[in-house]
């Protein structure tokens, strides 16, 4: 590898600029509040701050060293905590070049090397000359070519979302809850304004039935109805004209009534398939399908893609067979054992019971609200009943329920890590929490199934290990025959 190098000294300035931009609000506050004082002492404070920011920029420039070579880039950085970062060519997803105002002034360039992981933000060379940038690109350019051989031109398959299903999806949309909480926070923000304005209060008192519980119930109903209408319209606008198209190497999803959106998802980027059965949809036999894909950088939206907003249960198998080759329904053979039921119910009913007790104490409500507590027992039982894991061949299925029942299918090659987690009470009952992570967006998503039999640990570990061994063999085969992954 070549010698360690530093960035262009302008990087110190760029870093200082970044820090100033990051703390702009604080600086403004200091300026505004400081200038109220009569003497000019605050100016000195301000100047001192500026100088120290520059100094920190200079120090971070001094500590930031990098070298490239042998398909790797090594970065050492950090003023107080030293960090060493090693990036390999095989993992680099994209190399971004950008030109900020400071960089443009000196004819420099900012290089962001992005991997699929979360630390990709740290591999940023804030100012280097164009020659160095070229060198980095040459060294880290991925050998992967996007143009694949198109062996056969497959006929495009298209699937649309029928109007009936769109309406149903909008009616039972899960965004209802989100809209409701958003509206509630908005209203609580508005409250002080309403309290202050005399006019609004007068208008309020004019209303008949003010102060009766029935009136407040009605207001609450209206509020909920309003939220529901919003979520209904939102879903209609969002998923109108929904089409799912299968092309040679992936899926193309188009949707949107006014703002049209198109997502192209190559098959090799799909990390996991999620079948979500909403609490309102499941009783009627409807579900939706979502996909996780590995994105990078700002492409967060691509992390979770809705493949089908609504689908009758019996159409799941044919749709998956047609549009998602390599996936099919996987039997969920391992269920949460009976000895976990008590634990589960204690957790759900206990949580809700605590909340109710707090509400009752705080607002002095009638004991009748404890009726709400009864369904939590049922909910606990549902959560327990639905927790299941299964594997078939090289695919795995995990099913969990929070409110909606979610079944995740993951290919063995897509699992980033598998872990087993046991708390003390879990160990008493020989239970374990299985968790599996896949890449999703620039962070990743973990699926955890609680309270499974801990005798499953060796089963799943050896299943997972087998993949690793097999996979190594297959990668060796790959590189010797075709040379492209």
């Amino acid at each position: 590898m070549s010698e360690f190098r530093r960035l262009h000294p302008v990087a110190a300035l760029a870093r200082a600029g970044e820090m100033i931009r990051g703390n702009l609000l604080t600086l403004l506050a200091i300026l505004i509040f400081g200038s109220r004082g009569e003497d000019g002492s605050f100016l000195w404070v301000f100047l001192g701050l500026l100088v120290s920011v520059l100094l920190v920029g200079l120090m971070s420039w001094w500590r930031f060293r990098f070298r490239i070579g042998r398909g790797e880039m090594e970065i050492h950085q950090g003023i107080w905590v030293r960090k060493e970062l090693l990036l390999r060519r095989e993992r680099v997803q994209v190399i971004d070049l950008s030109y900020g105002p400071v960089q443009r002034l000196f004819g420099l360039v900012r290089v962001d090397v992005k991997t699929a992981g979360s630390t990709s933000r740290e591999a940023r060379l804030s100012a280097v000359t164009k020659e160095v940038a070229d060198e980095i690109i040459q060294e880290l350019k991925t050998g992967r070519t996007s143009a694949r051989e198109e062996l056969w031109q497959e006929k495009e398959r298209v699937r649309r979302l029928p109007m009936r299903h769109l309406l149903l999806a909008a009616t039972t949309s899960s965004s209802f809850g989100i809209v409701l909480s958003l509206l509630a926070t908005l209203l609580s923000q508005l409250d002080p304004f309403l309290q202050e304005s005399e006019w609004a209060m007068q208008q309020f008192e004019q209303l008949p039935g003010m102060g009766r519980p029935l009136f407040w119930m009605g207001m609450l109903m209206l509020f909920v109805l309003f939220a529901w209408c919003l979520s209904f319209a939102g879903t209609l606008v969002r998923y109108g004209n929904f089409t799912l198209t299968k092309q040679n190497e992936g899926l193309v999803i188009r949707h949107g009534l006014f703002e049209k959106k198109q997502i192209t998802l190559p098959y090799h980027r799909i990390q996991a398939v999620r079948v979500v059965e909403g609490i309102l949809r499941q009783p009627f036999g409807y579900l939706s399908i979502e996909l996780d894909s590995a994105g990078y950088g700002e492409e967060r939206e691509a992390a979770s893609v809705v493949m089908m907003p609504l689908l009758p249960e019996k159409e799941l198998e044919p749709l998956v067979g047609e549009f998602l080759p390599g996936f099919s329904e996987i039997p969920l053979e391992h269920r949460s054992p009976g000895r976990a039921l008590f634990r589960r119910i204690v957790r759900t009913a206990g949580g809700i019971g605590g909340g109710l007790a707090l509400l009752q104490w705080a607002f002095d409500l009638t004991p009748w609200i404890w009726i709400c507590w009864v369904p939590s027992l049922f909910w606990g039982w549902l959560v327990h009943k639905d927790a299941a894991v299964g594997c078939m061949g090289d695919r795995m299925a995990l099913r969990t329920r929070r409110l909606a029942r979610t079944t995740t299918w993951i290919h063995r090659d897509r699992i980033q890590q598998m872990s087993f987690h046991e708390s003390v009470p879990q160990r008493w009952r020989w239970l374990t929490t299985i968790s599996v992570s896949v890449a999703s967006g620039d962070r990743g998503r973990s699926v955890r199934v609680r309270d499974m039999d801990n005798a499953l640990i060796p089963v799943f570990r050896s299943w997972f290990r087998r993949r690793i061994r097999e996979h190594r063999l297959s990668t060796v085969d790959y590189s010797s025959s075709s040379g492209s992954a």
């Binding site: 905590v81 990036l87 630390t119 090659d413 890590q417 962070r443 990743g444 060796p458 050896s462 690793i468």
Partner: protein, 186 residues
């Protein structure tokens, strides 16, 4: 008997071993790599500092309180005793056991981490999922001449909290070399 034998071989416990399930694969045993014992001191100092703040603040508050009945003092005393007990456990006992339960292994296929005193965790990371490896060293770790090694996949970051600096470099290079052999996207 069978169970004790399995236990001795270092397998995770459980009622079903050797009963409903076949005896576990020897590769399922607990990994052998241990952290540098010097991390115990680091954790102890950290815990001592962190868990001292609350009692000190509280003690100062108690001092400035006006004197009250003896029952009041008894309560304060009991609480203080509890706090001291908690302090002793977190400072002296917990770091040692944390070290005792921390195991790792790295081979050409995977990284395995076993750790946790109260919450046990076993993690398996296939090497061909590793995105990059970095070593980290804060001031306390530097004073003890140990480094932490962080392994990032596309979804998660896992940290081996303390290896002797030389060993950390070795491990980093080792993972990097093994992982280079496996070429595949995300």
């Amino acid at each position: 008997m069978e169970r004790t034998l399995l236990k001795a071989a270092g397998t995770p416990g459980g009622f079903f071993y050797g009963r409903l399930l076949p005896a576990p694969d020897p590769a399922d045993s607990v990994p052998s790599g241990r952290l540098s014992p010097r991390i115990i001191r680091v954790w102890q100092w950290g815990a001592a500092l962190r868990s001292s703040l609350l009692p000190i603040a509280w003690g100062l508050y108690a001092l400035y309180q006006s004197p009250q009945s003896s029952l009041h003092w008894l309560l304060w005393g009991a609480l203080l005793a509890l706090l001291i007990l908690f302090w002793l456990i977190t400072v002296f006992w917990h770091p040692v056991f944390r070290w005792k339960h921390w195991r790792y292994s790295i081979d050409r296929n995977q990284i395995e981490l076993h750790y946790g005193v109260w919450f046990r965790q076993h993690t398996v990371i296939p090497l061909n999922r590793v995105q990059h490896v970095d070593t980290r060293q804060g001031p306390l770790l530097r004073a003890m001449k140990v480094s932490a090694v962080a392994v990032s996949t596309a979804a998660t970051v896992h940290e081996i909290p303390a290896l002797e600096s030389k060993r950390a470099q070795e491990v980093r290079q080792q993972i990097s070399n093994f992982a280079r052999l496996a070429q595949e996207d995300v």
